[in-house]
Symmetry: C2
Subunit: 697 residues, 2 copies
């Protein structure tokens, strides 16, 4: 691994601190920006977050830069419209004043020569199948909360120090939690979200128009009509104190329509107070879990940039997860970041590597739901929809929220793509987990998929060459697209597409394996033959003159794309040596792909000439981090000699994109302009967890 | 009544179209501004509202100006960040192009020489006690919906005309309602709000990034990932067609904390779809109810400005109402407009005249809750809190959300004020409704109130003069204030306050009456004596030299205030001739008040020298419409000779304030700068319904 140089100056990025399956995030970290509690949002919330310390009442508060001074609501009451009283008497710390460390399950700020510390933890781990969880396990794994702590080491101090954690949100006043639960010191927004610590000596509640210098105090020192709230903690001189924090969410009742479902956690938590009390009671256990995750990543062979990317990706992934309960059973959703489409299949197939590590049942349940409700048959056979709905609305059976008719670009159908996605996800799940029982139950679906693949090559068996080239009738006078919808034609068109062709090869390899596992020797052999045919056809598409594959086998296309090798990630993940040996079954194709990738990983081709970052296509500056991460993995393992020195610096470039505001203002971003590093879509996005594959290198 | 001149140019104002008791509004009307569905908000929502027509596909849409062009979400999907595709191809009608008519329960726009019409109805009427309602009545009276219609008279047309009603809200996509309910054509935001008509020929759904020119169409012609939605109605050439609309809200589950309660309507409506289907089924009945309200106001003796003010006030009042269900019983709330304080007693006492006309049980229930949970005893005896909480959070027993300790201005305690408010509201309720049973059950409270009044004059009976001058110990080193908290000291200070003194006189008159009704002759006589003492004391405060009362009987105060007569509204409302006869029991005081008011209603005193509007105080430009309306009523009925010609023009001025953006951007506003007509607080406010008193003149 290359030794990382200093990270980019101007580090400033949001991170989603998210429970498992709550579609909720406490987002914070972008410099001089608000954030806070967000439920089901497509972007960070807009609350001021007050975190910092002061060395006694005479000193100024030193706050992390998580706020924009709010217009005080005081004037609305007093009629004095000239009153603007933002929080006063504080210094917003500059990035140079603190050090931030993002772990796989933690995000920690240190300042004042490390005496001050603040950390948010997103504890996650292996989650057992919720259908079989007992209540205690469900309360632990499904609790809609994140934890954290705030501390100060005042052992060498001579004056008491105060610490603050608070939230300001003028439009939605909070309430003191102690009124409904004596075991909690903190504030909540109705029953929807809140933060708390355990009540005790040295812990004070604050609420006012200006939470740093509240002017008005009711019988208990608060002003509950005011929008800014905080906990203030006292650290006496000579002591070091760390205070636990729990940040919780709760969304009661029906959440979705189409399939009417509510959050799984509502079965085991009565309300927000129940969640927060539980979080404080199990605080240590959550802390240990987060620490374990942090250690695993820190001890990996990944360099600092790669570790940052994996950690940031995991945080945003968790923020998009949503575990519901429908008719007595779990209903798993990953929302598609800012688009909030439900279980977009293009993402499911990429999340599979991460999800098989932590919650393999989620992969299985999603595949089942695709079969049960989101499959359809067109003139060529079986396929699946692009997604299951959007924004908590499940679309009708057999229909996605995204796919439109009669067009050729974005928003067209992705019938071939989703057919491949079901095969690849299903076999990857079954082979990795050994769930042959499930595979057997789905044998008919697999065979129907194989038949559909063949028909999409050519309904006439004698005319097949392995490459998908027949669009679904659903497109009408339009054309099918691929998941790379927003790139240029090099990746957008499905017919005769290099990326889809290699992905199809991956599908045949996996089908061969799965059908053999099911004892279906003939069908397995036929799948192998189909793969061989396709591999051969692919070799005929190689341009001997340029040493590249064209991105589309039509109309003289000469775009060069990195996803040429994406389809090999599945056999690679499953340890299929036969299919991934450069000198094995597909040796001629591998040799060509090696040449293709070696030449692609040059500045001006698939390395951006300005930034040095990896690009999906030589003819588009729209590049997608999740797919880069996947391609990096395949290239580093299967085509290591193709890694040019210029290509090796990619991780630093990609990490810098994410940790500066061009992407960082929306936490993890996927679609990025390769020249500027500024996101152009797919913000607040879960798919970056393809980088999890790097831990296998 | 004076003949109104032309209304102010630049008419532009929001109106809250609100169900009864749902704390929800569909707000629309401000020119070139968004609005739409708002649940529990402190200000208008920010959705684009698409309402208009076009004369065939080749023509441009003519839309009412209820939108700001949204940044299209299309670019977020396509990666093309330069794409900005607001709705195109439309003309936003200018106020000169349409005529708007606000009725008591309707708001109607006409354009295209009255061929085009759009109306929103807020049907309201006498609501029986919810504790005793059967389910059918509850569904009718408590349905969380407003109705409306859109029409075009195409009888003389030669081409088909299209009509549109829709909502755009990029951050929160809507779903087509037909998926969950075949009887509905329309869209909903999850289960929370939605709009619908009956499906039928000539009715089309639209959803897209640009709802006027949608580019992408799924299998049913929609694009459900996009934020803009609409119904499009066809009116064939030669026909006139009107289409019904229902706009509904639904908030499931626990809504409040402190007292945990849910919406009463959730007991009789399953979900949003149930509400909308009901609204369409009972459409005619709601329409009749709204028409009846409209007729009543239109046939009243009020002039156009006064009618506008009453209608606008009633709309915003409804928007703040909230009927909940707590432990098997109704729980009534009026939220305090932008402040959202629960049942602020200062408002309850002003709403009483309106509420006794439509839902007297609400007054009774609120009084009971003040006794049961929001009363307290200080060193001088019984009183009540300023409010019961804020933003769906009920404060602990005996504590308000507003009142703070140790201060002298805004946010201090209002102990005297609220003691008077309970007496005045309680007796007004009992005498007006004849609910002597309730009065009897509260006899002890009444007597405790009387004792508390006396102690706040002076704990030593020999030193009493009737004027409240002893602050509650709750203020500490501070001082009590009145409801006029944000005015200058002329009305803000409670001790020795003219406004409170006359209000105290009103309280003694009502106590005398109530105690007599209860057969407590001695106590009644004592109340009469207390009133006489106070009236006499008041006459000694009159400044013979100036012909004015001072606003505060301290420190040489010389402010002049109109609420000097506010306390007489209660005996006046109850028809107490003895107490309100200029030549009767209080003749000397009346003569002085007549002189006071005559002189106050002069430009530069309590008429603003710039605008001509009424001011509460000669020394403050912060004036409150609701209190002006009340003072106008008392002056017009009890002191008609004091009405100067300048004072008579007030209604026009006050109406112009509300129908231009200075107030109109927040629907009905209460606190207004008398020189500019711009609101400085109390926006989106319910209290303007004091103008309901005018219908008694």
């Amino acid at each position: 691994m290359p030794t990382p140089a200093a990270p980019a100056s101007g580090e400033s990025y949001h991170v989603q601190h998210s429970p498992f399956g709550a579609f909720a995030s406490f987002t914070v970290g972008l410099v001089d920006a608000p954030g806070g509690f967000g439920q089901s949002l497509r972007a960070p919330a807009k609350q001021n977050v007050y975190v910092g310390f002061r060395r006694g009442p005479a000193s100024r508060w030193q706050l992390l830069p998580f706020l924009t001074p709010p217009q005080s609501q005081e004037g609305a009451f007093t009629g004095d419209t000239t009153v603007v009283a933002p929080p006063r008497g504080f210094d917003a710390l500059r990035p140079a004043d603190y050090r931030r460390t993002l772990g796989l399950a933690s995000d920690t700020w240190r300042a004042d020569e490390t005496r001050f510390g603040f950390s948010l933890l997103s504890p996650f781990g292996v989650v057992p199948d919720p259908a079989k969880m007992n209540k205690a396990a469900a309360r632990f794994h499904l609790a809609p909360l994140v934890t954290g702590w705030i501390e100060y080491d005042n052992r060498s101090g001579t004056t008491p120090v105060e610490l603050m954690f608070g939230i300001g949100h003028g439009d939605d006043t909070l309430r003191p939690l102690g009124d409904t639960c004596a075991a909690l010191a903190g504030f909540a927004s109705g029953g929807k979200f809140g933060y708390a610590t355990k009540p005790g000596r040295g812990i004070e509640l604050r609420q006012g128009f200006d939470v740093l210098a509240p002017k008005f105090h009711d019988y208990r020192g608060l002003l509950v009509i005011a929008g800014e709230s905080a906990l203030v903690f006292a650290v006496p001189a000579g002591q070091r104190k760390r205070f636990p924090l729990v940040l919780g969410f709760y969304a009661a009742g029906p959440i979705t329509t189409g399939l009417a479902a509510s959050y799984a956690y509502t079965r085991v938590f009565r309300d927000l107070e129940d969640v927060l009390v539980h979080g404080l009671a199990d605080y240590r256990r959550y802390e240990k879990l987060a620490a374990q995750r942090d250690r695993e990543l820190a001890r990996s062979k990944l360099d600092a940039d790669q570790q940052f990317l994996v950690a940031q990706a995991a945080h945003s992934y968790l923020g998009s997860t949503q575990l519901l309960w429908h008719k007595g059973k779990p209903l798993w959703i990953v929302n598609e970041g800012e688009y909030r489409m439900i279980n977009t299949f293009d993402l499911t197939v990429d999340h599979v590597f991460f999800e098989l590590a932590w919650q393999p049942w989620a992969v299985r349940d999603t595949l089942d739901l695709f079969v049960r409700r989101y499959s359809y048959r067109d003139q060529l056979g079986l396929s699946f929809t692009h997604d299951m709905g959007v924004n908590d609305f499940f679309t009708p059976p057999g229909r996605s929220s995204y796919e439109c008719d009669g067009i050729e670009g974005c928003f067209s159908h992705m019938t071939m793509e989703q057919l491949l996605n079901w095969i690849l996800t299903a076999v990857t799940y079954a082979e990795h987990t050994g769930d042959t029982k499930w595979l057997r139950a789905n044998a008919k679906i697999l065979l129907a998929c194989a038949a559909s693949l063949r028909n999409r090559d050519n309904p006439d068996p004698t005319k097949r060459d392995g490459i998908l080239k027949h669009d679904t009738s659903r497109v009408g006078h339009g054309a099918e697209i691929t998941t790379y919808d927003s790139l240029d034609v090099s990746l957008g068109q499905a017919r005769n597409n290099l990326y889809l062709a290699v992905k199809t090869l991956g599908a045949w390899v996996l089908l061969e394996k799965a059908l053999a596992r099911l004892g279906r020797k003939d069908e397995s052999a036929a799948a192998r033959a189909a793969g061989d045919l396709l591999a051969h056809t692919l070799t005929t598409k190689f341009e001997a003159d340029t040493g590249f594959f064209p991105a589309v086998f039509e109309k003289g296309n000469r775009s060069r794309i990195l996803p040429a090798v994406e389809g090999f990630v599945y056999p690679l993940f499953l340890g299929d040596k036969d299919a991934t040996d450069a000198h094995g079954r597909f040796a001629p194709l591998f040799a060509q792909l090696h040449r293709h990738i070696s030449q692609a990983l040059q500045p001006g081709v698939c390395l951006d000439p300005v930034s040095g970052g990896w690009k999906m296509s030589s003819t588009s500056t729209n590049t997608w981090f999740s797919k880069i991460a996947l391609a990096q993995h395949v290239v580093r393992v299967l085509f290591p000699a193709a890694l040019t020195p210029a290509a090796r610096t990619g991780d630093r470039v990609h990490a810098d994109w994410q940790r500066t505001p061009g992407c960082g203002r929306d936490a993890m971003c996927d679609q990025i302009r390769s020249d500027t590093g500024i996101s152009c879509g797919s913000r607040y996005y879960p798919r970056g967890v393809t980088a999890w594959l790097w831990l296998r290198e």
